[in-house]
């Protein structure tokens, strides 16, 4: 049900700009207003949510520890899984953010010879996740050629590496021509493939399907459709990229202007889906972009034994120490012959 809802939602998101541009000629709305609104929502929304998260105090150390803590010198410490210092936490966070280490530990429960339960290694999620995120990163970097002038050298280098195989797609196209160029950008294909595999994982594995909600299906479908429209624009419809860049450069220079030459409807579908993804970002699970940095179970030093952490909202307790008590009653105590610590 949640899947059907997500599929319908993405289909509507494809139809809205299609109808809006081809029938109602709302090019200004879909080419300028929507992208601006989406990027503003994204930047403000993500910043706001991170600031809002930082309202929550984390008074105590709550890291998930998966290894031996620092103890006696002759006991071997697992620094990465039970970080006892800042460098160890940085190492742990680096492996988590850039290599998805916790997914690498993913296990799968399986029945073995009847009722015996065994846990096997399951690296697929880690592999698809890694492929998905890094190809998405390369795709984003490649798109910077539409938003910078002149195009920075490092963007061109990334693109050059991404089209390393200098491979055309030998597909039959209109008018007896074939869809051969421009060169195949591997990142786009890998992105679509990895997103599809992550999607199929939710479909095929019954337990994962059971816990999947609209918030899981929708962003996956949205990204799959974004990748598809991008691939269609590049290899099949051949959108006029010079005209597209005239529009995008006017957007980033904050001097929006629709170019005189027409741009294919596919571009408007693509940019509308991307805009929706950006606007949807702060309200969704995609916020793991910020959340991965702020997970207290991973980014805290496990130093509860070395350092005292005090809860900031502890009520203030009025103490009356023995020393103060003795100050109050010292003379009476001496008169009654009760020993005192400090003579008068």
């Amino acid at each position: 049900m949640s899947f059907i809802f997500s599929l319908v939602a993405v289909t509507v998101l494809v139809l809205v700009p299609l109808v809006g541009v081809t029938v109602a000629d709302l090019r200004w709305l879909f080419g300028v207003v929507v992208p601006y609104a989406a990027v503003a929502t994204f930047l403000i929304g993500v910043s706001y949510r991170v600031l809002k998260w930082s309202n929550s105090p984390v008074p105590f150390r709550i890291p998930t520890t998966c290894g031996q803590a620092k103890g006696l010198p002759w006991i071997k410490t697992n620094k990465l899984d039970n970080p006892c210092s800042l460098p160890a936490v940085i190492g742990r966070m680096f492996l988590e953010v850039f290599l998805f280490r916790s997914l690498f530990r993913n296990t799968r429960m399986e029945y073995h010879q009847g009722p015996k339960v065994r846990y096997g290694s399951s690296k697929w999620l880690w592999l698809f996740g890694l492929l998905f995120h890094y190809s998405f990163l390369v795709v984003l970097i490649r798109h910077l050629r539409f938003f910078t002038e002149p195009v920075p050298m490092w963007v061109q280098i990334v693109e050059h590496i991404d089209t390393f195989f200098e491979m055309g797609l030998p597909l039959p196209g209109p008018d007896g021509l074939y869809v051969g160029l421009p060169l195949l950008a591997q990142s786009g294909v890998i992105l679509l493939a990895a997103a599809t595999l992550l999607f199929l994982r939710r479909v095929v594995i019954a337990q994962v399907r059971y816990i999947s909600i609209a918030g899981d299906w929708f962003p996956l479908l949205l990204i799959i459709f974004i990748a598809k429209t991008g691939i269609i624009m590049r290899y099949v419809l051949k959108v006029d990229v010079v005209t597209v860049k005239k529009l995008t450069m006017s957007l980033v220079a904050l001097k929006p202007e629709l170019p005189a030459d027409p741009i294919s409807f596919m571009f408007y579908i693509h940019i509308f889906l991307v805009s929706f993804l950006f606007a949807y970002f702060p309200f969704s699970k995609l916020m793991h972009l910020g959340g991965v940095w702020l997970s207290p179970t991973r980014n805290l030093v496990n130093n509860s034994r070395e350092k005292r952490h005090i809860n900031p909202w502890n009520p203030e307790v009025k103490f009356h120490t023995y020393a103060e008590y003795e100050d109050d009653f010292r003379e009476q105590m001496i008169e009654a012959g009760i020993p005192v610590e400090k003579e008068a």
Binding site: V39, L43, L51, P57, E149, K238
Partner: protein, 127 residues
């Protein structure tokens, strides 16, 4: 609102904004530049309609290459029925004789590095 670990949070948010709004910082206050394509003065039409050439000339060139190199066929019949010699150097560059004022304008603008010039030479330009 109380922000715990304020320096770290603020620096993190600023890094986020710096990275994701990167094109805005670099383009701020500039006038969007435009490519200036110089068209041949004495010619009226290309081997295919302008719209098609704009978006798909690389595909046409690829097809020409395959036709010449694999089939030895150098004759191209255009949409108007006119015959052309399939050749980048002798046909395309005959009219578009200054690479820097034609090819490079758009290619540099959208950051495209075509591999034509890995093998082909282009006519010397007056400087």
């Amino acid at each position: 609102m109380k922000i715990y670990d304020k320096p770290v949070i603020v620096i993190g948010v600023l890094i986020f904004l710096a990275i994701f709004a990167f094109p805005l910082w670099t383009a701020l206050g500039t006038t969007p530049p435009q490519p200036k394509v110089e068209l041949p003065k004495d010619m009226k039409e290309c081997v295919a309609p302008t719209e098609y050439m704009k978006s798909s000339h690389m595909q046409l060139l690829n097809e020409w290459r395959d036709s010449v190199v694999r089939d030895g066929n150098r004759v191209w019949v255009s949409h108007t029925g006119k015959q052309y010699n399939m050749s980048l150097t002798n046909e395309c560059l005959r009219c578009h004789n200054e690479k820097s004022k034609f090819c490079d304008q758009c290619h540099n603008y959208v950051g495209v590095v075509p591999f034509c010039w890995d093998c082909h030479t282009y006519p010397k330009e007056a400087k």
